[in-house]
Amino acid sequence: MHDFGYHRPASVADVAGLLASKGEAKVVAGGMTLIPTLKQRLASPSDLVDLAGIAELKGVKAEGGGITIGAMTTHAEVHRSAEVQKTIPALAQLAGGIGDPQVRNRGTIGGSVANSDPAADYPAAVLGLGATIRTNKREIKADDFFKGMFETALQDGEIITAIHFPKPEKAGYSKFPNPASRYAIVGVFVARTAGGVRAAVTGAGPCAFRSKELESALGGSFTPEAAKAVKLGADGFNTDLHATAAYRAHLISVMAARAVAAAS
């Protein structure tokens, strides 16, 4: 790790100022992703702006029938939240399946979504539920947010403050974990909402995406059988040591079926 300046502002307003005034500043949330890259010297920011001191970024609250989760809320807090368990149990379950207890007690929803790791779990829920990402500058629809591998619609100096999830009629998440890292080799989040069925896939492409094929099949019949019958071609899916594109294409149907079966 190279040396860096450290700042712990107390308000969102101060964050923008710090980011603008420091040359190569980066925000740090739980640090579960950022700190390892610093240790490996893959990133060397001049300054770290720690969001941990900003009370307004923390916590879960009910809002407009759905829920709003502050960017600095940890995976463990989302998993344990009575509000989330009641309104969107699939989201609580997803948060409880991220990494291990240490990671869940440090990692945050804002950090995970901002990072857009191709194998992260939260992006599937954000897309699958049609959430809204709130930043210090604007609101961004989930469908407009994930742009590619580690790429999002966030601009320089823009930070996520909260994510709002509307309540679905029913939703479910199923992930096939990478045996080593336990990130998603394939994760599928399905939701039946007033506006139709949404199905989002993580782990299989450069970033989370919605599957038209699954959505139309499940729109016709929201059943595991309908999901399992979807046969996707391997084109465009990731291949790595742990899974080929063809295997991922197959797992998408299987995980979708399991997500539908588990949906509540």
Binding site: M1, H2, Q40, R41, F176, N178, P179, A180, S181, Y183, L241, H242, A243, T244, Y247, H250, L251, V254
Partner: protein, 791 residues
């Protein structure tokens, strides 16, 4: 049996300090004035070092010194075992300098040593070293390394061959094949593994100008071996000026047996700079530089008569050594592998050929089981395949070929003589405990749930308790393999035991204390076991090859024999009796036929306060040392049975039952023995289902360079084990112990893979390679000759 004696599951004495975070590991040791080392490593698998410019690094803040291969003026790391090829020529033994001189040969090879006031400063400075490399093509593949036209790792090793060795009677084997009724053939890969001890390697070098003494604190399984190798061969420091301390060590699994470059570098540089120097590996460095395990490519053929009786076996194996020869690397795929190819069977003729090859990868050496897991995997996969081809029951074909319990001592055609065993007994025990007979109904029930269930078996033997010095010497070992034990009885009757073995998770501090407390009849709390410091322990060869109790424990018993013999003379004097009439039992000396008695503690005190003492015949004091060199290896064996359920939708294999019935000889502490089996089986499950070390075939970069890609077994990958021992005693050591450290890792992988293949057999699948990952199982189902019937 007493509550703390031999046979009792005494809780581990050492666990208080480990579980409360009070262990002292090498990285916990800090010397006054200590500096820190960082090692700049090669980013290339194979390259010439054209130029190294260290000027900017030298003047970087906090830097004390920067050394490169040109500065290093001492010897290379030696190989501790010499193998000769079929034609009688000695193996190719390339130089292995702690800092590369003109060429790097694997990613992670040592290029420069930076020493600074802090670790961060050393690392910052290393970034400023400018190395000009000329990249060369690399050879990675084990199977291709000896093919003509491939990149050459060493000019002296033509076609990358280190040695081309054989064992057994070729003519007799060919003759038996010629009259075989059936021959079963198999091609197998025993994949490369990363040991991944929880504690990364570390070393602190110290030099005392006042005395001219060097001290090395290091993460080692055998400090005396390191002192010998580093002192005599590498740095030329005589033993009396070199102390090696291996304090608490957080796991080794073999990878901490060997003498590593960093140990020599911090000691050498400490002498040059007159500053203590600490180096601790980062986890990524452990992946790149700890000696790795296994890595065999084999072809084997088994000749049988019409009844499935084994007539002959022939095996040819290519074993990857990596870019250099690690300390014990040459013996692993030869004398720890091919000698085990008889297994538990009466196969009368065996011929094995082993070619060791160099590649542009980190060194390969002993890893839990070392050679024996490779032999067992090959044999037990082959036997299962033979049973399928002969349409024989898997258990029956094994029983038919077992060495019978009456046949011991049994001379195999591959050099070993087994002293004892009862393979039918361990097989029967495991069949019963696993409810083998009831399996088909469980398979049918699973099928109704859409799952493929399978059961697999392995009946194995291994050779450990390494070992008789004369034997290993004749086979090429450059060291003896006895063990040393010392008993120091203190004046008030408590005892310190000094052992040349080293505990890094095995629980010797408890097991050895039980042995001593039981034998001397004193409280276990009065016994302290000391190990790991060459200034305290007379000598020792360390811990590996499941040798600690069988060899090290036996040395302790021999030392206790001497203690008791001397104590009897003191007791005889005190009781005014003849020595021949003195008996010793439960900590008390008595005279047969009288009511005279003296407790052990009184004798101890008398030895040190010799007021009333046979001083003209006997020296005061009560301290004895013994060296024990066994007459043979020991031969643990047994039967492992694994039951799996596969999910055809995802390819996931779940182990639903695992049964191990092992013959480990005398058991001192059943809980520790069970723990050793659990750990070994966990590693076996790791190899069979999860772990695989993968290098990019072109660039030689390690693709599984972190725990994000290299899959270690976790608690939720493991079932609840059914573990039992069913022992016959070792006939040639005073304890009867055979060893247990490696059996789990040796016996389990073939049982697991045989179970996976059994589960897939309704689809016509015959083979799956380790690790049987979900991807591989799913692919096997996709390309299977038969399809899953619709549910």
């Amino acid at each position: 049996m007493t509550a703390t004696g031999i046979g009792a599951s005494v809780k581990r004495k050492e666990d208080f300090r480990f579980l409360t975070g009070r262990g002292t590991y090498t990285d916990d040791i800090n010397r006054p004035g200590q500096s820190h080392a960082y090692i700049l490593r090669s980013p290339h698998a194979h390259a010439e070092i054209v130029k190294i410019d260290t000027a900017a690094a030298q003047s970087s803040p906090g830097v004390i010194a920067v050394f490169t291969g040109a500065d290093y003026d001492k010897g290379g790391l030696p190989a501790g075992w010499q193998i000769h090829s079929k034609d009688g020529s000695p193996m190719v033994e390339p130089p292995h300098f702690p800092l590369c001189k003109d060429r790097v040969r694997h990613v992670g090879d040592q290029v420069a040593l930076v020493i600074a006031e802090t670790y961060a400063e050393a690392k910052d400075a290393a970034e400023k070293i400018d190395v000009t490399y000329k990249e060369l093509p690399a050879i990675i593949s084990t199977a291709d390394a000896d093919k003509p036209g491939k990149p050459q790792v060493w000019a002296d090793a033509k076609n990358n061959v280190c040695y081309d060795w054989h064992l057994g009677d070729k003519a007799a084997t060919e003759a038996a094949f010629a009259k075989a009724h059936h021959v079963t053939k198999i091609d197998l890969v025993n994949q490369r593994l990363v040991p991944n001890a929880m504690e990364p390697r570390a070393a602190v070098g110290d030099y005392d100008r006042a005395t001219g003494e060097y001290t090395l604190y290091t993460t080692s399984q055998n400090p005396h071996v390191i002192r010998l190798l580093m002192g005599a061969f590498v740095l030329q420091i005589p033993e009396h000026k070199l102390r090696v301390v291996a304090p608490d060590v957080g796991g080794g699994f073999g990878s901490k047996i060997f003498h590593y470059a960093e140990e020599a570098l911090v000691t050498w540089a400490a002498g040059k700079l007159h500053r203590p120097i600490k180096w601790t590996a980062e986890r990524s460095e452990s992946f790149l530089t700890d000696a790795q395990g296994r890595d065999h490519v084999s072809h084997a053929e088994l000749a049988m008569d019409k009844d499935g009786k084994f007539l002959a076996l022939r095996v040819s194996t290519i074993a990857n050594m990596g870019a250099y020869l690690s300390t014990f690397a040459p013996c692993v795929p030869t004398y720890l592998y091919a000698t085990l190819l008889a297994g538990v069977y009466t196969t009368p003729a065996i011929y094995a050929e082993v070619k060791a090859v160099f590649t542009n990868t980190v060194v390969v050496d002993a890893y839990r089981g070392a050679g024996r897991p490779e032999a067992t995997y090959l044999l037990e996969r082959l036997v299962d395949k033979a049973a399928r081809e002969m349409k024989m029951d898997r258990v029956e074909i094994r029983r038919k070929n077992f060495i019978s319990r009456e046949a011991f001592p049994y001379q195999t055609p591959v050099a070993l003589q087994y002293d004892s065993g009862d393979y039918d007994a361990t097989l029967d025990g495991a069949l019963k405990a696993s409810d083998w007979a009831g399996f088909e109904s469980r398979r049918a029930e699973a099928r109704k749930r859409g799952k493929l269930r399978g059961i697999g078996i392995s009946t194995y033997i291994e050779a450990c308790g390494i070992a008789p010095s004369a034997v290993v010497g004749s086979l090429g070992a450059r060291a003896g393999l006895y063990e040393c034990g010392s008993i120091r009885v203190h004046p008030t009757g408590s005892v310190t035991v000094f052992t040349g073995t080293h505990s890094h998770g095995q629980g010797h501090e408890t097991t050895f204390a039980q042995l001593v407390s039981d034998t001397l009849g004193i409280s276990i709390d009065s016994v302290e076991v000391s190990h790991g410091d060459t200034n305290k322990i007379p000598f020792g060869m360390g811990t590996y090859g499941s040798r600690s109790l069988a060899v090290g424990g036996s040395a302790i018993v021999k030392a206790m024999d001497k203690i008791i013999a001397k104590a009897k003379r003191i007791a005889a004097h005190l009781m005014e009796a003849s020595v021949a009439d003195v008996e010793f039992k439960n900590g008390t000396f008595t005279v047969a036929g009288t009511d005279k008695s003296v407790p052990f503690g009184t004798v101890a005190l008398t030895a040190y306060v010799p007021h009333n003492y046979p001083i003209t015949e006997l020296e005061p004091g009560l301290e004895e040392t013994a060296f024990y060199d066994p007459l043979n290896f020991t031969y643990p064996g047994g039967c492992h049975i694994c039951e799996v359920e596969l999910d055809p939708d995802t390819g996931v294999t779940k182990i639903v039952n695992f049964t191990a019935v092992d013959d480990v000889g005398r058991v001192i502490n059943p809980m520790i023995v069970e723990g050793q089996v659990h750990g070994g089986v966990a590693q076996g499950i790791g190899q069979a289902l999860l772990e695989s070390c993968v290098y990019d075939e072109q660039s030689g970069q390690l693709l599984t360079g972190s725990l994000m890609d290299y899959c270690m077994p976790r608690a939720d990958d493991l079932p609840n084990f059914k573990v039992a021992t069913q022992s016959t005693m070792c006939t040639h050591n005073p304890i009867g112990a055979k060893g247990v450290g490696e059996v789990g890792a040796i016996g389990s992988p073939p049982a697991i893979i045989n179970a996976v293949i059994d589960a897939l057999s309704p689809l016509g699948v015959q083979d799956i390679s380790m690790p049987a990952t979900p991807l591989k199982v799913w692919q096997a189902i996709q390309s299977a000759p038969a399809k899953m019937a619709a549910e």
